[in-house]
């Protein structure tokens, strides 16, 4: 499918408000990119563009050799997104939600595996509206994995998770990273990201203020953040 994503001079303007002002970066398979920055820096907008749900005002995004504007069904199927909202149906059970999205992605039969992977076996047959915020977050992650994505975008995935949930998510993300998935993680939880990220991008006022990739995870993301955000 694709093993890298290239963002070149991407801008995004909402009316008179410029959310992104010429962002360029490259995401690669096997790397987890921590996208950091203060509120309003343009992180969620960039995630929206990478998910293909938003179109950039200017610049270019390429998924391997496929351009953003040519994004079709195959490309959409290779992208997973965990956003602020759960993207789930509250009146369906966790299992029904996963089966529904699995079938939308043309697959089937992995719902139970995904439920186990995010630790929701026991709650699988309860309506999602009865889930806690953390449980919904776990299920949202499982939903994002339904299509076995090549690019997984995560916007504050640690929100609402208890300590065991955070640990399980870290393990899962590390597995996906080492398995060759391209990951982008937006978070303010620098400690959680520090153990995972081997690529850090700091956005400030819609522009890249820092972009560095290395083989090992970053030990002190807080210092990087303090210096550049």
């Amino acid at each position: 499918m694709f093993d890298h994503v290239t963002v070149e001079g991407v801008t995004k303007v909402y009316g008179r408000q410029r959310a992104l002002g010429g962002v360029s970066l490259r995401l690669e398979a096997g790397r987890l990119c921590a996208l950091l920055g203060p509120n309003g820096a343009g992180k969620s907008t960039l995630l929206g563009i990478l998910s293909t749900l938003l179109r950039p005002t200017g610049g270019e995004v390429r998924f391997g050799s496929v351009q953003h504007r040519q994004a079709g069904r195959t490309l959409r199927g290779a992208i997973g997104l965990v956003a602020h909202e759960s993207f789930l149906y509250g009146d369906l059970t966790g299992r029904e939600n996963l089966r529904f999205f699995e079938r939308l992605y043309g697959g089937g039969g992995r719902a139970q595996t995904l439920l186990s992977r995010v630790g929701l076996d026991e709650a699988a047959d309860r309506p999602v509206r009865t889930y806690s915020r953390g449980m919904q977050q776990r299920l949202a992650l499982a939903r994002a994995l339904c299509g076995q994505p090549r690019l997984l975008l995560l916007d504050e995935p640690f929100t609402g998770l208890d300590s065991s949930g955070v640990a399980a998510l870290r393990t899962l993300l590390a597995e996906l990273r080492d398995g060759g998935v391209i990951l982008m993680l937006v978070t303010h939880d620098l400690a959680a990201a520090a153990e995972l990220a081997n690529h850090v991008v700091v956005l400030r006022r819609g522009k890249v203020a820092f972009d560095h990739a290395q083989s090992a995870p970053f030990a002190r993301l807080d210092e990087v953040y303090a210096a550049h955000a």
């Binding site: 749900l53 950039p56 195959t74 959409r76 789930l88 009146d91 043309g106």
Partner: protein, 226 residues
């Protein structure tokens, strides 16, 4: 494609079966409208065919708007619409699945409303059930085809419920006129079947045109294009 239309429809039907939210709201509202009109138009236990047809289609139009709003709200809760749009499923399948759900919810309401018309106004609706069914089915498809598109398009807009009525009603006026004219012709003392069939054909053409347009417009209108 059909499998995905069925999947989206299945999801909406399961949620509705559990909550019974959309049909019960539509029914409640439609029945209230019928009762209010019954006080205004009943004379010696009967109402004229024109009045019954107008009341029936007014109830359908108003209650349908409630159903459209609530059906779209289900996709807004948890922002599930974005998950649908992000999936590799053809956008046309998503649109058709949602529209099919709205059609079924509206038809369920119309069944009760038509029965109530017979009870309240003494209207002989069952005498030409095939023609009436044709009018209701085709009118509902046209209504849902446009309404489903607009209700999803309005997304998170403020005052979306008001906006829905403002943008929807001018376009579905032909559906309401055709439906009420056709129904009225069936309720005359000597039913005018030719007129009813004319309006059925009119609705069929309307549906073909607007379902095609909606399929074409769904993706550019719903997916953000910056």
């Amino acid at each position: 494609m059909l499998r995905l239309v069925g999947l989206v429809l299945w999801k909406d039907l399961v949620v509705e079966w559990r909550t019974r939210e959309i049909v019960s709201t539509m029914l409640f509202f439609a029945v209230i409208v019928m009762l209010i009109f019954s006080f205004a138009f009943l004379s010696e236990g009967r109402a004229s065919g024109d009045a019954v047809a107008g009341i029936l289609w007014t109830a359908i139009a108003f209650s349908g708007t409630l159903g459209l709003s609530r059906a779209a709200d289900r996709e807004r809760d948890g922002d599930a619409l974005r998950a649908l749009l992000l999936s590799p499923a053809p956008r046309a399948a998503l649109y058709l699945g949602k529209t099919a759900g709205i059609v079924i919810f509206m038809l369920a309401t119309e069944l009760v409303v038509a029965a109530l018309s017979t009870v309240l106004f003494g209207a002989a609706l069952s005498a030409h059930a095939a023609e009436l069914s044709g009018l209701l089915l085709l009118g509902t498809i046209g209504y849902a085809a446009i309404g489903g598109l607009f209700s999803l398009m309005l997304g998170r807009a403020r005052s979306r419920d008001v906006l829905l009525a403002v943008v929807l009603y001018p376009i579905i006026v032909p559906v309401i006129i055709a439906g009420s004219k056709g129904t009225s012709s069936l309720l005359e003392s000597i039913p005018d079947l030719a007129a009813a069939r004319y309006w059925i054909k009119f609705l069929a053409v309307f549906d073909i045109v607007f379902v095609t347009l909606a399929l074409w417009a769904f993706e550019p209108l719903i997916v953000e294009r910056g």
